[in-house]
Every structure is written in C-alpha cells, then in structure tokens.
C-alpha cells in the first residue's frame, strides 16, 4: 500500500491512498461516488459526467474519475449543490430512457435506478418527443443489446478493445442518435463476451441465457470459485428456490479478485453453472439395479471389505483439498492405491493469456500438496491387479483413448462410481452412489498459481446428494474422519504448505500459498 494522505469529504477528515483517483480512493474507505463510465479495469473515459463533484478551489465541478486525490483536498459529495450536479446529469440521462424497469433484467442492480432513487428525482420535465432506438439486438455470443437503455458510457466498447483486444463494438452516430453497435455481419466473437453484461452499468447489455429468468432481488448470492479450469476465478453463485421447485443456480458472475481474475471471467466458466442443474446423477445402483443410496453404500462397503489390499481409488482433481484428504484416508483404510490421474482434464491449446487455462481441473495443485500420485503408468499397473475400483468423480472418459483403455482395464472388476453427474461410468459401473457437486458443499481449492480459495455451499441438496466426504465416510463404515474441522486440523498438521492456514479466516481473495496473504 502506498502512502496515506489526509483529505476532507463533507467535512470529515479521511486517510486515503495517494496516487488514486477520487472514485477509487474513496471507495476503499467505503464512500461510493456515483459513476457510469469509469471502471477500474478500463480506466477513465470521462464521458458520463455522473461523477461530477465539487472540489474546493477548483474551477467548476470536477469529474472524480480523473481527479487524483491530494493532501488537504476538500470535496463535497452530499451538499445540496453536489446532489444537484448529479440530479442534472441524471435528468439528462433519463429524458430519452425507455423506463423499461418492470421488464428489464438489470432492475435491482442497475446504477441508473440506484442513483435515481438516491437523488430523489421525481417529476419529469421532458415533454418533447423521445428518441427511439432499437431493442433486442443480437450482438453474438449470447449478448443482447438494447440501444434505448444504453447510457453510452462505452465500457463495453473499451472492454473489447482493451481486454479481449477484439474490438467488435463501436459507437456510431453523434448526438442523441449515438448508439453502440457491431460492424455489419461481424458479431461479438470472443471467449469473454458476456463480461460486457456485467460491466454495463444499466440493462443495455443482457445475457440471452439469463434474460427473463429471475428478478435479481429474489436470488441469493454465495461467494465461491469457478471449477471450469485451473484458474479458479472468484465468482458469485446466484441461486434461488422457487415455490414447488428445487433450488437451482441461475448464474455465475465474476467476483472481483485482484489476485486471481481481476473483474472478469470467461464465458465457458460463467455458463458452467448450467452443469450444476443439468445431467445430475440422482439415483444409486447396486448390483446393476437401481437401489436406495444406503443399500448401494452397504453393498460397496461389503465389496471393499472383501477386497482389502486390492482396491484402487481414483479421485477427482477438482474435489476440494479436504475431500482429497478424506479420499486418502479412505484408501488407507482399505489398504488400497489412491490415484489422482487426470491427464484427460488437460485440453491442449485451450488456454490463453487472459484467464483460461488448458487444465480444466480445479484443484490439481492439491493433489501435489497431498502427495497423491497422478502417474498414469502407476495407476495402470495397480489397476491390473485390483479387484475393486472406486472412481471418486474422476471422469476418465474425457479423452477417447483414456475411455477405451480404462474400459478395458475395468472389465471383470467391481466398479464403484461416486459422482455428481451422469457421465459414462454412471451407466457402466455396477455400484453407483450420487454425491453433491461444488455449489453444494464447502471446502478449499488451490489454483494454478497456488492461490487457495474457499468454495462455499450455495445449495443444500436432498439426501440423494450427500457431500462427497459423507459418502466416503460411509464407504469406510464410518471408520474415517470426514468432518470438515477435523480434516482441516489434520491437513494443517500433515501438509507443510497448509500449516499456516487459518481455516476460519481465509481471505475472500484467497491465500497465496507461495507468498502468504495479500
């Protein structure tokens, strides 16, 4: 953190960080200056004029987004004249606005709406004809644009120029005919497109996927981590339980984290929330017949007890560190071999230098921390002599060659599949036990840059989806410890890199296991 300086906001002395603009410096101490066009990741543009503030001694109102804080600076935000500055800009902003709030997805998280309510504007003085523009424009990549709702802050345009460097959008025309548009026949086409929906301060950019699905005020948000790849972008899991329906996830949104993903996330990761709702494994099997979970579990325990020393366990590289530790205990309990083999999770050429990683496993780093082997040959040689194979949500069918090879190796063996989704093994295994997926349990994962982050439980599923550690405890006949606190204690004691983790106070932005907390 750089030097602190003292300034005065509405008569109150404050210490703020030197070298920042007013918006950032004050937001760090909890004061929000209304703004549209400024975005910390995109820099200032100065077009919306929403951030005009009164600075003592300055010639006229100043835009906070391009005003660096200075020692002794005096700023007024809540005075009547300062409020008026904002009211006037809002009045201009709204004269040609369609006031779609009742049918606008952004309602409830719209800056224009929020600032309007704050400013207490009431009566419209606009009696001339409004400017009409186009609505429901398909911009590509699932981005839908409404030109009438747009405040022309150019955030979307700047995002595609500065961040993805694909520049699909521009603002054409002048005056109140100005509008955001794509080039003819050239829709938005990049892997981060849906970020424009988040950075749009109003409802001018909406997501085809989310449109009209939920009013945002009905949803709850949990802070978690995307499991789409090894980057582990920080996210919000937005979910809701509608009457007579199961609770479900409606969207993922990036959660700001300077250590990991900045302000953004990729589209694939964002839309991977669907996997939490779709193709879920809900039924248990024993002896190739659908059975109750408990029956399937007892059957598995019987099989394992009979095959002591001859069982192989293959754990998912995306399970939490705690779950991996429990898997280790389970393997030890049955004197079996534990593998974290997951080459199939690596998709060559699929990474980029923004966020996306080739490795689609969320927690490969923990396999190493816990000393779980990922070696293919060792797994194969152990499988050759095994009688029972327990696949702990590791998808061995991700590549065609793995699928073929492991199917052959599993032939004639008892296969127990514990999983959250209906992958191939859910059909072929003789014993199947469903378990929760990552929006339904808590724990930690460590990303490709050794940053440990917390996964939180957003959704409490019914009994068919016990948490993986509960399933594993049951598979041990409740002989091993699976309770989170106990597992963590054990982790701190046995894994040097985790010795310092304060499990009750993991920072929201994660813990850098290489460099400590940031």
């Amino acid at each position: 953190m750089s030097k602190l300086i003292t300034m005065n906001v509405d008569g109150q002395e404050l210490q703020v960080e030197e070298g920042k603009n007013l918006i950032d410096a004050l937001s760090a101490v909890g004061i929000h200056i209304p703004h549209f066009c400024y975005h910390p990741a995109l820099g200032f543009d100065g077009n919306c004029r929403m951030c005009l503030v009164e600075v003592e001694g300055a010639r006229g109102p100043q835009i906070a987004c391009n005003t660096p804080v200075k020692e002794g600076m005096k700023v007024s935000l809540s005075s009547e004249s300062s409020m008026n500055l904002r009211r006037k800009v809002l009045e201009f902003e709204l004269i040609n606005h369609p006031l779609d709030c009742p049918i606008c997805d952004q309602a409830g998280e719209c800056k224009l709406q929020d600032y309007y309510m704050e400013a207490g504007l009431s009566k419209s003085r606009m009696e001339v004809e409004k400017v009409a523009k186009e609505k429901n424009l398909d911009f590509g990549c699932g981005v839908v644009h409404d030109q009438e709702r747009c405040v022309l802050c150019a955030r979307c345009v700047r995002f595609l120029r500065k961040y993805t460097k694909t520049a699909e959008l521009g603002i054409v025309n002048r005056c109140d005919k100005a509008k955001v548009t794509t080039f003819p026949e050239k829709p938005i086409n990049n892997r981060y497109a849906l970020n424009v929906v988040d950075i749009c301060p109003v409802g001018a950019m909406t997501s085809r996927d989310f449109r009209f699905k939920q009013r945002v005020w009905f949803m709850s948000s949990e802070k978690s981590v995307c499991h789409g790849c090894a980057k582990g972008c920080s996210i919000y899991v937005d979910h809701n339980q509608e009457k007579y329906k199961a609770e479900r996830v409606y969207r993922f949104r990036p959660r700001e984290n300077a250590q990991v993903n900045g302000h953004f996330m990729c589209d694939a990761g964002r839309l991977s929330y669907r996997k939490e709702n779709e193709n879920r494994l809900t039924t248990a099997k024993a002896s190739e017949r659908f059975e109750a979970v408990d029956i399937a579990t007892s059957q598995a325990v019987a099989l394992l007890s009979a095959a002591k020393g001859k069982a192989v366990f293959i754990v998912s590289p995306s399970w939490t560190t705690e779950q991996m530790a429990v898997a280790k205990s389970l393997a030890t309990h049955y004197d079996g071999y534990l593998s974290g083999y997951a080459d199939g999770y690596i998709v060559k050429g699929d990474g980029d230098d923004l966020l996306l990683k080739e490795d689609k496993a969320a927690n490969r780093a923990s396999l190493e921390l816990l000393g779980i082997s990922t070696d293919r040959q060792k797994l194969i040689s152990n499988l050759k002599t095994a009688e029972v194979v327990v696949v702990l949500n590791n998808d061995l069918s991700l590549t065609a060659s793995d699928k073929r090879e492991f199917e052959a190796l599993f032939a004639g063996k008892q296969v127990i599949f514990v999983g959250s989704h209906r992958i191939a093994l859910a059909d072929s295994a003789q014993t199947v036990i469903p378990c929760a997926s990552y929006t339904e349990y808590a724990g930690v994962v460590v990303n490709v840059d050794s940053i440990l982050q917390e996964v939180t439980c957003a959704i409490e599923k019914e009994c068919f989806a016990r948490r993986p550690e509960q399933v594993m405890a049951a598979l041990s006949g409740n002989a091993i410890k699976a309770e989170l606190g106990a597992v963590r204690q054990q982790l701190s004691a046995s894994v040097p890199a985790l010795a310092q983790v304060d499990w009750n106070a993991i920072p929201e932005n994660g813990l850098n296991l290489k460099g400590g907390a940031q």
């Binding site: 100065g46 077009n47 902003e93 025309n173 002048r174 005056c175 109140d176």
Partner: protein, 425 residues
C-alpha cells in the same frame, strides 16, 4: 476616425496568382526563414510570447505560452497540428489565408517547427474545403519541389514535413483533441483532459495545436519583432485580426484590422452598414457560439478580447453576424441549436441529451406550441449543460440559448402568447 483595414496577413490578397510560390516569393514570402533559423528556438518562443500573439482559433490563449508548455527532454517526437477545420457557423477567415496566401502559412509552419523542435506538421482541414485542400496541397508540393520542405528544409539541417489531413465533416473535430483523434484515424471526439495535448497529444506524443491564422502571423513577428507586432492592437489584444462579417450588411467579407477598433465602426465603415436601410437588431460577435449582443452593447464595444468580454460576449473566432430588424430571434436560435445538436459528438451526457432537448423546446416555441415555463426551463438547462462536459461544444450551445432568451425574451413570449411566429408573413 473611420475604421481602416491593415495589411499584415492580407498583404498579398488581390495580387494575381498570390497563391503561387513565385508570386509569394516576389512579395516577401519565405524571406523570414533565414532570420528564424539564425535564432535559437527558445528565442523565437520568447519573441512570440513578447509579441502578445493570442490564438485565433477561438479561445485566445497566448501562443508563446502554449509553446512553452511542451515538456523538455522527452525522448519522443513533438507534433504540430494546424487547425483548419473552420466549421463554426459565421467563421470564414482561415480559408481566405489558404486561398490567397498558403505560402505564408507554410512559412509560419516551418518557423514554428523550428521553434518547438517539431519535424512533422499536420494541417487538419475541414472536409468540405475540397478546393482549399487542393490549393494547400499544390502549395505544399511547390514548397517541396523548391526544397523549402523535406529532409533539409530551406537548405538547413532540419527536416520539416507537412501532411494535409482532410476531415470528414464534423464541427467537433475543430476541438483540438477531437482533431487529434481524427488524425489518428478514430472517431472524432474530444478527449477528457488532463493530460493536455502539449504533454500527451497526437500518437501519445507532445503536440501543439494552433489555428491557421495564428501560425500565419508568425513570419510577420519574426520580421518586425515583438514590438513591431505590438504596434497593432491594444495592450492585452496585440496585433491584427482577420474578421469575417456576414449577415445583413452591404459588404460582407473578410477584413483585416488591428484589434481594438470599434465594432460599430467596423460594421459601418468596412462592411457598409446594415443593408436596405434597416435597423440593427443584434450582432453575433465571434462565431455562432458567442453570446448575442444588442445594438446598445454594440454601440460601445471594441473588437478586442477584453472589450467584448466586458460587453458580455466573446471575440471567439472573429466571425461577426449582423442581424437586421426583420430577423425572428426564435427562429435564429432554433437554427443555431439545430447545428449544435447535430454536431454534438454525443459522448457527454449533458451535451448529447441537452442539445437535443433544448432544440426541441425552441422548435416548439417557434411553431407556436411553447409554454411560458419553457423559457425558465431553457435557461436552467443551459446552466446544466455548461461547464460540465469534456469540451466546450455543450457550452457553445448553452451560451446563445441563454443570451437570446435573456436579451430578446419578449420575442419568445410573443411566440408563446400568439401561438405562432409574429414574423411569419
């Protein structure tokens, strides 16, 4: 004493083929190059400072001072941009320089490049100036052929290249940072400042932007020195100015006078007074954005920066418009606002939305559909639009609005009361 023309910038006007290099040279063109190159660049900057030359593009900023804002010792090129966008209604003085004496501008550019250590000058010329762009290019070609421009400009060990960049028809591109964006090939819209172009300008490099007339004044200053230039004008408004006068006068045109002459005298002595023996109703003194003046204000006003400000308006770009008694002020304002609405680049909320809103209100009044409360609303909207935007185009729409309503409110009220235009036959 009658107001008289002086011939500093317009010395070659009227001479046959004054546009050509040969004729220009025969009348003193490029005669100051030798002297300028014998001076230290800093000396020239000081001389221009001392001459009191102020920018002729509208804001009247002291030219030498602007040049001295260039950062020293930067490892980047410095660019010179000549603003020849000249798109403000009523302004048509720069095109006269290009049509009559482009070599004076080129000479000014060479000297300025030396003074500010720039090797690349861009002349940004209004898109509609097709003929003028051709003339300029012809003159530049001649100058290259004669070795005045190029790797060894005027035979010195100093490169000067000039590029003419044609605009695409946007008034806002006359604003210096919009001009820069436009040269860079982007949509012409002003940049938020700071940083100022003297520090971060064209291609992210230090850049000086000056008006055509400003730079064309430089050779004279070199020749006659700061004191020679100061012989013209007033203490604070030194030198001469090419005023363009149009509207309801007998002899519209461009006349060069020293600054500080009487506005009324100028209208009467040089432009032949209000036409058709009609009465004067109003004067726009310095391009369409400057607040309108009443005959009473015109009576005592002098054509210099200070006097016009004292009389509630601005010298601006020196484009004087004379309106006679038959003019409908509501319609006149509507006409101006149509322009500012159309030309707003649309990035700042108050300007993008405000110019359209006030245009529509004034249109309604003009059509007899106005309300009395519209007048105060217009005044308030003008306040809300001014001083709150990236560039002053928003203010340029607000200033006429305010002054028209304040000074000619009765005409607006009459439209509203009658439900129609009292001037419409």
């Amino acid at each position: 004493m009658a107001v008289q023309e002086v011939k500093v910038l317009s010395a070659k006007y009227g001479i046959k083929d004054s546009r050509t290099l040969a004729v220009a040279r025969a009348h003193g063109g490029y005669s100051q190059i030798e002297k300028a190159f014998s001076m230290e660049p800093a000396q020239i900057v000081e001389m221009v400072k001392a001459s009191g030359l102020r920018g002729r593009g509208g804001a009247g900023f002291p030219t030498g001072m602007k040049w001295s804002f260039l950062p020293k010792g930067l490892d980047k090129p410095t660019y010179l941009c000549i603003n020849s966008d000249e798109s403000e209604p009523a302004t048509f003085k720069d095109r006269q320089i290009i049509e009559n004496d482009p070599h004076m501008l080129i000479e000014g550019i060479i000297i300025t490049c030396w003074a500010i250590n720039s090797h690349d000058a861009y002349i940004y010329i209004r898109g509609e100036f097709v003929r003028q762009a051709e003339m300029l290019n012809t003159a530049i070609d001649e100058a290259y052929a004669a070795g005045l421009l190029g790797e060894k400009a005027c035979g010195k060990d100093f490169r000067v290249d000039i590029t003419v960049h044609r605009g695409a028809g946007a008034y806002v591109c006359g604003e210096e940072t919009a001009l820069i964006e436009s040269i860079e090939g982007k949509k012409g819209q002003p940049r938020s400042k700071p940083p100022f172009p003297a520090v971060v300008g064209l291609f992210q490099c230090p850049t000086i932007i000056n008006n055509v007339q400003t730079i064309a004044s430089v050779p004279y200053i070199i020749e006659h020195g700061a004191e020679g230039y100061r012989k013209f004008g007033t203490e604070k408004s030194a030198g001469t100015f090419l005023f363009g006068i149009s509207g309801h006068v007998n002899k519209p045109g461009v006349y060069e006078t020293e600054l500080g002459v009487s506005m009324k005298g100028f209208i009467e002595d040089l432009a032949g007074g209000v036409w058709k023996n009609r009465k004067l109703k109003a004067v726009i003194p310095g391009g369409s954005s400057t607040p309108i003046m009443t005959p009473k204000e015109v009576e005592t006003c002098m054509l210099d920066y200070e006097s016009i400000v004292e009389h509630g308006s601005m010298l601006g770009s020196g484009g004087i418009v004379v309106l006679d008694e038959t003019v409908c002020m509501v319609k006149s304002l509507k006409n101006l606002l149509y322009f500012y609405h159309h030309e707003s680049c649309g990035q700042c909320t108050p300007c993008r939305e405000g110019t359209g809103w006030i245009y529509k209100i004034v249109s309604n009044i003009e059509a007899g559909k106005g309300k009395m409360s519209d007048l105060d609303l217009l005044l308030e909207l003008a306040d809300n639009m001014e001083g709150k935007t990236v560039c002053v185009l928003s203010g340029a729409a607000a200033m006429p609005t305010r002054s028209y309503i304040q000074k000619f409110r009765h005409e607006f009220e009459e439209h509203i009361k009658l439900g129609k235009c009292p001037f419409a036959g």
